[in-house]
């Protein structure tokens, strides 16, 4: 039916594709991996150029989302108004929760974490089912594999791979993502895994008797030496608890703090905090800015090897010296979420 040349070419293309699949499945180093990195580097550079060209369009924000948002905005505001009225009466209880969330938000941006900022320049197609984005900062900016990635709201993901000037970030909502999480203010730990849906995570608690409630905040438990996840980063809040206390597994539905559909400037945590994450969850009134700032305890940068007691002490003294009046605000947070 077709000429010999056509048939050979078609066979070559199919065999080449399948060879790539096999080589990719096999993984590891070698000339194939090197060639692949070179091409990815080049394409990453071109993507930076293209992203600049398209920045007037993408910079205006996600137009579809914002249109849809506006339609629902009136309903949301009306509902908010009613909610606020009723909240006035139960203000005291909510105040503590707001303060806790506020504190968590601040933790992401204050000097506890050193981070390199990067702007999202490319997003994986939805039909690939992989929640990955590319940012315009890479190895040359000090980014390495398995660093935590955050935005102003909380944990976004981790660095999957890097090229010279770009990094690929796999988001926490990706199906393959699993993050060690802890319920803020308690010792309950578990695994937060992605569901493939952009506003839903699944939190599986290790202790089946754990007391988790809707509205509880989940923060990262922290990995060894802060890779891939630095401790104390806010992940999301519990919106639904599945199963009752005492069942074999206890699973909660968690909504991530970071809006995965509206990612713009992300921060890659290049240096996790030194002290226990528990301490960094406490609100520090002095550091409200979300601009990347160097660690306030600049003098103790080299104290990574110091004993836990010493770091706790330094953290305690710095807290006290920086914001003595915040201690009163911090008390209800701790007692409000036992």
């Amino acid at each position: 039916m077709f000429s010999r040349r056509t048939r050979i070419l078609l066979a070559v293309l199919v065999v080449a594709s399948l060879t790539f699949v096999i080589l990719d499945l096999r993984g590891g180093e070698g000339p194939f991996a090197t060639a692949r990195t070179v091409v990815s580097n080049t394409l990453g550079g071109l993507e930076r150029v293209a992203a600049t060209v398209f920045s007037p369009i993408t910079g205006a924000g996600s137009w579809w989302s914002s249109m849809r948002d506006q339609a629902g905005q009136i309903d949301t505001l009306t509902a908010d108004n009613d909610a606020l009225r009723s909240e006035l009466t139960t203000l005291t209880a909510d105040k503590a929760r707001v303060a806790a969330l506020d504190g968590l938000l601040r933790v992401a941006s204050v000097g506890q974490y050193r981070f390199v900022p990067g702007e999202v320049i490319a997003v994986g197609p939805v039909q690939d089912f992989s929640w990955t984005v590319t940012i315009d900062a890479g190895r040359n900016d000090g980014i390495e594999q398995d660093m935590s990635v955050i935005n102003g709201a909380g944990l976004v993901g981790r660095v999957l791979k890097t090229t010279a000037n770009t990094s690929t970030v796999v988001l926490i909502v990706d199906q393959g993502s699993a993050v060690g999480g802890r319920v803020a203010g308690t010792n309950e730990i578990g695994v937060v895994s992605g569901t493939g849906s952009q506003d839903e995570l699944e939190f599986e608690l290790l202790d089946p008797m754990a007391d988790v409630r809707v509205g509880d905040a989940i923060i990262t438990f922290g990995s060894k030496s802060g890779r891939p996840y630095a401790p104390g980063l806010p992940i999301g809040k519990v919106v639904e608890v599945k199963g009752t206390s005492g069942q074999l597994t206890r699973v909660a539905r968690v909504q991530p703090f970071a809006d995965m559909s509206q990612l713009s400037v992300l921060g890659v945590v290049t240096k996790p905090p030194r002290e226990d994450p528990r301490d960094s969850v406490l609100p520090n009134a002095d550091n409200l800015s979300i601009v990347p700032t160097p660690a306030p305890l600049g003098g103790s940068d080299t104290a990574t090897e110091s004993t836990p007691a010493a770091t706790e002490e330094s953290a305690a003294t710095s807290d006290a010296s920086r914001a003595p009046e915040e201690e009163t605000a911090a008390v209800p947070v701790e007692s409000g979420s036992p």
């Binding site: 293309l13 080449a16 594709s17 699949v21 990719d24 091409v39 989302s65 320049i121 197609p125």
Partner: protein
């Protein structure tokens, strides 16, 4: 002349990949990301023929997998797009092609691309594919394919007519 054809195929594939990941996937359009890459492969197959379509499919598929943030298995998109490029080139006799037929072919191609890559990924052991979402993604992808088709088919055909008129399929 073969170099000129290669240049057309390569340039269109590269531009399609770049526009898809840096622009289209960031617009937050509901459903699937408009599959500009597949539409481009179909447009090349319609303008230049099945062999060029298959080559375009291979090139574009490999580039899409290699371009950050691509994290799927390298080669899966390539093998699917090779098939799509080749079949699009031979499916309908050039004399019977009308604009609605070509738009329909593109829609079928973009829809099939979602189904085939999802199927192949699953067969190769990826647990990422959420089959509950696949039908909706395939449908929206097909709709976006139909919408993108006329403009891109005309663009590719006019470039081919100017640069390499000898391969133009009329």
């Amino acid at each position: 002349m073969i170099w000129r054809q290669a240049l057309i195929v390569g340039t269109f594939s590269l531009l399609a990949v770049l526009i898809e990941v840096t622009l289209l996937s960031r617009l937050g359009i509901p459903g699937a990301t408009p599959d500009l890459v597949v539409v481009t492969v179909v447009a090349i197959a319609l303008a230049m023929g099945p062999v060029q379509g298959a080559v375009a499919g291979f090139t574009a598929g490999v580039l899409l997998d290699l371009a950050p943030p691509g994290d799927t298995l390298l080669g899966v998109n390539a093998v699917v797009y090779v098939a799509i490029g080749f079949i699009a080139g031979i499916a309908v006799d050039p004399r019977d092609r009308t604009v609605p037929i070509m738009m329909g072919m593109t829609g079928l191609a973009t829809g099939a691309a979602v189904l085939l890559t999802s199927g192949l990924d699953t067969m190769l052991g990826s647990d990422r594919v959420d089959w509950e979402q696949v039908p909706m993604l395939a449908l929206t992808s097909a709709v976006y394919g139909v919408i993108l088709a006329p403009g891109l088919i005309l663009l590719v055909a006019s470039v081919v007519r100017k640069a390499t008129p000898e391969v133009l399929v009329t």
